[in-house]
Amino acid sequence: MSANPSRDSRLLRGARRTLTGLHPALESLLAAVIGLLIGALLMYIWGFNPWKAYWALLQGAYGGSYEWASSLSRATPLILTALTFSVCVRAGMFNIGAEGQMLMGAMAAICVTYFRMPVGLHLLVGLVFALTAGAVWSIVPALLKITRGVSEVISTIMFNWIGRWLALYLAIYVIVDPMRAEKTLTVPVTARFPILVRGTDFSYSFFLSLFVALVLYFILWHTTMGYEVRAAGLNPTAARYGGIRNKRTMLWSFLLGGAAAGLAGAAIVMGMPPSYAAFGGGAFPNLTNIGFDGMAVAMVGRNHPIGIVAASVLFGGLNAGGRVMQFYGSNPVPLEMVRIVMGAIVLAMSVPELIRLFPAIRRQGESLVRLLRRKGESSEEGSS
């Protein structure tokens, strides 16, 4: 922005006004584009054809109904763990514990195997178990923060690890499948999410995610509790002065966030064919990184449920598309490139106001020129 706004052309001013309005979504888009470009650059350096690869990626992600199903299926748990992170961010806290909370939720959902229940109820009970487990797992860090001021970043990371080991223990010793020691009990048919598109792993769990996103949206923007959470997150002093008890909002956000993460675990073990179980032997291959990827989704989705759904469709698409991309063409790009692109996107996201950055660089250049010019002037000036 130049120092003298009236000097800017009207076109520029109009463009700037539109940019500010669409601002957040535009930034995410820009970050996504930059991430993809970085990926393309790396592919090029390594001797691949980026455009062919991206074409395959696109096809594999959104090419047909099977592909869409695949993408959305991968998007499902990401929506939930992204919500975990975002709800807490809205309250002004960093909840890094989605990994652990999700694992606890998964374990709890598997416990539903011990009961025998009719079809719909079984699933529901499993969900309740899962969200409770997730909420419980995130309560302790929340309480530690409220009572002793312990950084929730640290405590949630610790609980991730404690949760991981606890889950491993449970998976190997307690809820283990008596026939195959490397996996847990299988979730019975009565407690599974029905498959939505035959031949894919896309199940009704997707609607669970959407439902939770909707519910959280409503809670945050349409209830007094959500209002208090958001106010406390944005300006704790003004909120306190407005009669809001910040400790309560912190607690609520962690409870809701933990519940969402727990549900993510349930969505996987109760909704993902063919195994419908967790694998203690390989340290939960189908459950790892869902928490961290969810955080990436949350950031790209700007911590808003709608943005999160959109971002998760992107990330899910990247995952699904990658699996096709790795077989496409004469020199296919390994699917690990997808991770690289995701990382690049998040890195680009971490620079705020990317759009403003370019004018900023231009301004630096301008001020440097001015400085040089002034140095020339002052050497001509004597004492006044």
């Binding site: 209830t223 106010a231 002093t237 009669g243 000036e381």
Partner: protein, 536 residues
């Protein structure tokens, strides 16, 4: 402290060491902080920089010490024009500033804090050497401070001495102190002034920013008075009488200066500026008795104030900011717990309660820092409008849902009633101008139908139109029978609006025992700490 400064036999002030020439500072929002200020600083001189809040004292010194660039004008030394782009450059040149809020790292000891500002930026100097230097410096200057204690554990006076040592260790030629005595005990003040005189005799120039008349007369050689950004007086201290100073600081409107506050005849307060207690038809709403409270740095900020506010009146508390007004308001609005005393609203105690409870008792608060306390800037107009009342029945639906419709209706009413200019209820609060933000806050608070409105610096930072609007509102409220407590550093405002007023200085009300009406100059003197007896 009662004697006026007598010039002691010392070296005559030599040529100037620094001159601020035609300094004008206009902030990005258009406020003119300084208008062509010119100041010549000579060696062996203590200059007192006097003025009310917003007069421009801090701005001027920040420009001198490199924290702010001037919009026009320049700073000149005998060697040529000087331009500082950072505090470090100013320090290297020889100008050091001791701020009101110390720039000390709490967990460091004094030695470590001083070592931080050594000349060489990136060096492996051992701390032991620094300590030796400090000890020598302490000997020389007579400043004594424990060197090995984390400064956060030191008393405020000691912390200030560490700040001064820090600056002295850089061999400064000009030392600027911003309101240094506001956190000191009388004994510490005497020690400080002793030190300043010693430094002056050695050749250092000193600028002392203050609003306290007695102090400025006791220790300075020269007094410069700023008013609304302009230099209105530059006189030798021996020539400066208290009356003259008060007149310069707050006296009658200067030629060409627009009167800040205009009220029509009907709006003028019924009782004029007397401190007498009048008979009021309505009973007292707020009763405060012997309130004592500590500030953030554990010193006493409110030192036993008592007053009543009745329905249908505006009770004004005048005084330069930093004399306890903020702490007083915080006690009354639930943000601070006082040490002792009583405060009741219609008989119910309000001290120590949390803000929501105090709301319910009928206290509305227009905070002095609207961005920090009054608004959640990223929130929309509508969301801000219900802050504090969001739990009300009319906005709350089943299951705790917010009745968006009702909220929007409420906001539109507010926007109409208070003429809030914005694109709509969903405009983000930060897009509003300062005046509209303040109107939003005032409107929100008044919508609570409060028993008393506590307005703290309500027109600070507002343009003339917005300020007038707010003042009209307050007057209107008074007409409707509400009680209003107005805390303002703008003397014109308080004088124009208040039915009764008190002047706060160092935590106490001044001039309560003064009989009869007070002139503007007399009030100015009271604001500067002069006691009743001496206000002729």
């Amino acid at each position: 402290m009662n004697e006026k400064a007598v010039p002691e036999p010392r070296q005559e002030a030599s040529g100037y060491i620094l001159r601020a020439a035609g300094i004008t500072k206009i902030y990005s929002d258009g406020t003119v902080a300084l208008k062509k200020a010119t100041l010549e600083i000579r060696a062996h001189e203590i200059i007192g920089l006097l003025g009310e809040n917003g007069a421009g004292k801090t701005t001027l010194t920040k420009i001198l010490s490199g924290l702010l660039p001037p919009t026009h004008g320049r700073v000149v030394s005998p060697r040529g024009a000087v331009r500082f782009t950072s505090p470090r450059e100013a320090l290297d040149f020889g100008i050091g500033m001791v701020h009101q809020h110390f720039a000390l790292v709490g967990t460091f000891t004094a030695t470590e804090n001083v070592a931080l500002s050594h000349e060489k930026p990136f060096s492996f100097i051992r701390l032991a050497k620094t300590r030796e230097r400090l000890e020598a410096l302490m000997e020389e200057s007579g400043l004594r401070v424990p060197l090995d204690v984390p400064v956060e554990k030191l008393a405020v006076g000691e912390q200030q001495r560490v700040e001064i040592l820090k600056v002295l260790s850089r061999d400064v030629k000009l030392l600027i102190l911003d309101e240094p005595t506001s956190v000191l005990t009388p004994l510490e003040v005497d020690e400080l002034f002793l030190l300043l005189r010693r430094l002056r005799d050695k050749g250092t120039s000193i600028i002392l920013i203050t609003h306290k008349l007695k102090e400025v007369q006791s220790v300075t050689d020269r007094i410069v008075v700023l008013r609304r950004g302009e230099m209105v007086g530059d006189l030798r201290t021996i020539d400066a009488t208290t009356e003259r100073l008060a007149q310069l600081m707050v006296g009658k409107a200067l030629a060409g200066e627009p009167t800040a506050v205009e009220l029509s005849a009907e709006q003028l307060p019924k009782a004029q500026r007397a401190l007498k207690r009048n008979e009021f038809s309505s009973e007292g709403v707020l009763h405060v008795t012997d309130l004592v409270a500590r500030g953030n740095t554990a010193e006493i900020a409110v030192d036993g104030v008592s007053f009543d506010v009745h329905g249908g009146e505006i009770f004004g508390i005048a005084g330069v900011e930093g004399n306890g007004q903020s702490e007083l308001v915080e006690c009354l609005t639930g943000l601070r717990v006082p040490v002792s005393g009583e405060a009741t609203i219609r008989g119910t105690n309000i001290l120590g309660k949390d803000p929501r409870q105090i709301y319910r008792l009928g206290v509305a608060h227009v905070p002095e820092d609207r961005w920090r306390l009054g608004l959640v800037l990223p929130f929309t107009l509508a969301e801000n409008a219900i802050l504090g009342v969001h739990q009300w029945e009319e906005f709350r639906g089943p299951l705790g849902f917010l009745r968006r419709g009702k909220v929007n209706q409420h906001v539109r009413q507010l926007m109409d009633r208070f003429d809030i200019q914005a694109t709509g209820p969903s405009a983000p609060a930060k897009s509003l101008s300062g005046g509209n933000q303040q109107k939003l806050i005032v409107g929100r608070e008044l919508a609570k139908d409060p028993a008393i409105v506590v307005a703290s610096q309500p027109t600070r930072g507002l343009d003339i139109g917005a300020a007038k609007y707010i003042r009209d509102l307050l007057v209107e409220m008074r007409g409707k029978g509400r009680a209003i407590l107005l805390v303002s550093a703008d003397l014109d405002e308080v004088l124009a609006l208040a039915d009764r007023l008190a002047i706060m200085y160092e935590g106490r009300f001044m001039g309560e025992s003064c009989p009869g009406e007070l002139s503007r100059e007399q009030i100015g003197m009271l604001m500067g700490g002069v006691s009743c007896k001496e206000v002729a």
